[in-house]
Amino acid sequence: MSAADLFSFFYQFADVFAFLILSASGLAIVFGMMGIINMAHGEFIMCGAYVTVGLVNLGVPLALAQILAAIAAGLIGVVVEYFIVRRFYKRPLDSLLATWGLSLIVTQSMLLIVGSSIRGIGTPEGSFAVGDYTFSTYRLVLFACAVAVLVGLYIIFMKTRFGVLARATMQNAAMAKALGARTGRIYAISFGIGAGLAGLCGALYAPTMTLIPTMGATFIVESFVTVVVGGANVLLGTAPAAIFLAMIRMALNASYGQIIGQIGMLFAVIMIIRILPEGLSSVLVRRGR
């Protein structure tokens, strides 16, 4: 195997990994940690993409627009938490219905207000060649962002006071409250971070995709699958799940094409859920202790 093919393998792996991590990280917090089955996850992604495109069209530089879009999605997340999600912490199955309704309302409203499609902004220039292959530099930026998101989440949830309080609240809200944690605010901020990460995903993929109101749907299967395979722990679950699924999908995509890649990935998911109903993190966390 030539060096070019080897690099190509790494690049394809990085590409799938970035897609899984970026689309799943927000959901890992909202669904994995908080237990809210957020069917509107894709709409937060769409929100990030649309805000990015809107800002770029107003003349804002792309990178700044993407950061602002993630913040906007995060703030909307806090509002949604306050008015809707807050009522469903003890009723996880009802949260599915409520957020699904929200998702339908949002996609249909966007369709009516903004129209069925808006013009894309184009991927930032930059490509490089290895052997016979040419690659887009921006896809490696996405990989770097995915790694940065994981590092960021590690710092927030493991190294800060807020992280300790948040983990305490998710494990036992009543006890945390009794010890003086302001659980309402912690839930709101956590949901906001989850929504903001979804927005970041949309913002980062906005230049590379067709922009339509239902674009979130292309992310939602992968994000749920990654979180379910990963289990409740964001760092010890989502990240290894993404590595595992990316390896399978990349290998099958490369040898048998996209259909088999998709089938194979979902088959692996079924096997894992069958063997480890609590997800990969149930094994990894136990080992760590």
Partner: protein, 412 residues
């Protein structure tokens, strides 16, 4: 309580009476056109112009006195890209609303979902998209372009201009598979070679692996048969990876207006053969565009589906007026005369009696680096001849089948 209840019933009765009165008042009942087009979901951006085209045609016809003096009532339902919903809504339009004609369907999958239901009735059905061809069904009239009009023109031109090695990226359903079959057949005749074929599930939006497979196979050009907003992301990702290959398609530009939706130069060097694209610059086309944009000023692009949907209703009007009837059998008698033609914005188009498909004036267009569209070649009017050649003759028998180059009628 009792009296209030009575009042309510009285009120209801009054309303019912009023409703009955108003329908009795109209001299002739209106002519009902059932329309099934996606205006939400992954294909909404191309379904919207279809709805608009139908609305525009109905408005114009009603303003000029209707069809045989009857006003046209358009009943549109949105199946949201779901084939089960297509079937459910088709039954509702046919059985409950008792529409005089059924129009619509975007993907070939939705059309094949509809056909068995329409075939059980004696209602005419218009399919208004370009498609992979081959449907030989007496209930169906196809107004879009078919492979002998699109592929038999485009593929030889691409081979001559760019080379014999082709890589196919196609959506993984009947349209993609049958179109790829056409490509293999035509390439074989030209001594060309398919160096790669990839079928992509609908909804897939990430193409880094596909792009690399293409680079490995080193084709001279790409045949792009990807469908839907998600799969269109290919163009942006291929441009970012500097794939820089010429592309051909039967559905890009005039149908999906990717050159308007993506930032240049993502669609640079794309080629397609079309009976309609908004850039056509003739007096008839310009008049048509002017009427359209007056009613729908925010339309991003008048695509060929929208154009065909508009003319399908005029086609129906012509058939009904010549037959002086709305019955399918009478309409088909008009078609059988071979003189079922209308003057469309592209020129005069006629329904072929054997296949009930439509002749079209085809042009080969290409997209430049600034996404400007130029006409490379004008083929004039091309008949939908293939079905007739292989033995489909709806004036004699009705097989209700879809034929492909590998699935031909049995010789009797």
């Amino acid at each position: 309580m009792e009296s209030r209840h009575l009042l309510r019933i009285a009120f209801l009765g009054l309303m019912l009476g009023a409703a009955g009165f108003s329908t009795a008042q109209a001299a002739d009942p209106s002519l009902k056109v059932g329309l099934l087009e996606d205006v939400s979901g992954d294909l909404a951006f191309m379904g919207m112009p279809k709805l608009h085209g139908s609305q525009l045609a109905v408005e114009e016809i009603n303003k000029s006195g209707g069809i045989l003096g009857r006003q046209v009532e358009l009943i549109h339902l949105d199946p949201q890209g779901d084939n089960a919903r297509y079937q459910e809504f088709a039954r509702r339009l046919l059985n409950r609303d008792k529409v005089d004609v059924l129009i619509g369907g975007i993907t070939s999958a939705s059309r094949e979902a509809l056909r068995p239901i329409v075939d059980r009735t004696s209602t005419p059905y218009f399919y208004t998209n370009q498609y992979e061809g081959g449907v030989c069904d007496a209930n169906m009239i196809s107004t879009g372009a078919v492979p002998e009009q699109q592929f038999s023109t485009l593929i030889p031109w691409m081979v001559e201009k760019f080379g014999k090695k082709v890589y196919v990226v196609a959506a993984d359903y009947n349209f993609g598979h049958i179109s790829a079959e056409w490509n293999r057949k035509i390439l074989k005749g030209l001594g060309g070679e398919v160096v790669g074929e990839e079928f992509i599930p609908l909804g897939v939006s990430q193409f880094a692996q596909t792009i690399q497979n293409i680079q490995k196979a080193k084709p001279d050009w790409l045949l792009m048969l990807n469908v839907g907003a998600a799969q269109d992301s290919f163009f942006e990702q291929a441009a970012a990876a500097k794939l820089n290959l010429p592309m051909g398609s039967s559905i890009k530009i005039m149908l999906g207006f990717e050159h308007k939706r993506f930032k240049p130069p993502a669609l640079n060097n794309m080629h397609a053969t079309a009976n309609w694209f908004e850039e056509i610059d003739t007096p008839e086309a310009n008049a048509f565009k002017k009427r359209w944009h007056a009613k729908f000023p925010n339309e991003m692009y008048i695509n060929d589906m929208g154009y065909n949907a508009y003319h399908a209703i005029y086609m129906y009007k012509m058939l009904v007026e010549k037959a002086k009837s709305t019955k399918l059998a009478d309409l088909r008698k008009v078609i059988a005369t071979g003189d079922a033609c209308i003057d469309a914005a592209e020129g005069r188009i006629c329904i072929d009696p054997k296949s009930q498909h439509t002749s079209h004036r085809m042009r080969l267009i290409s997209v430049g680096p600034q996404h400007q569209v130029t006409v490379e070649k004008d083929y004039g009017v091309i008949q939908p001849y293939w079905l007739g050649q292989i033995g489909c003759d709806l004036t004699k028998s009705n097989p209700k089948d879809q034929y492909t180059p590998n699935h031909l009628p049995k010789k009797s």
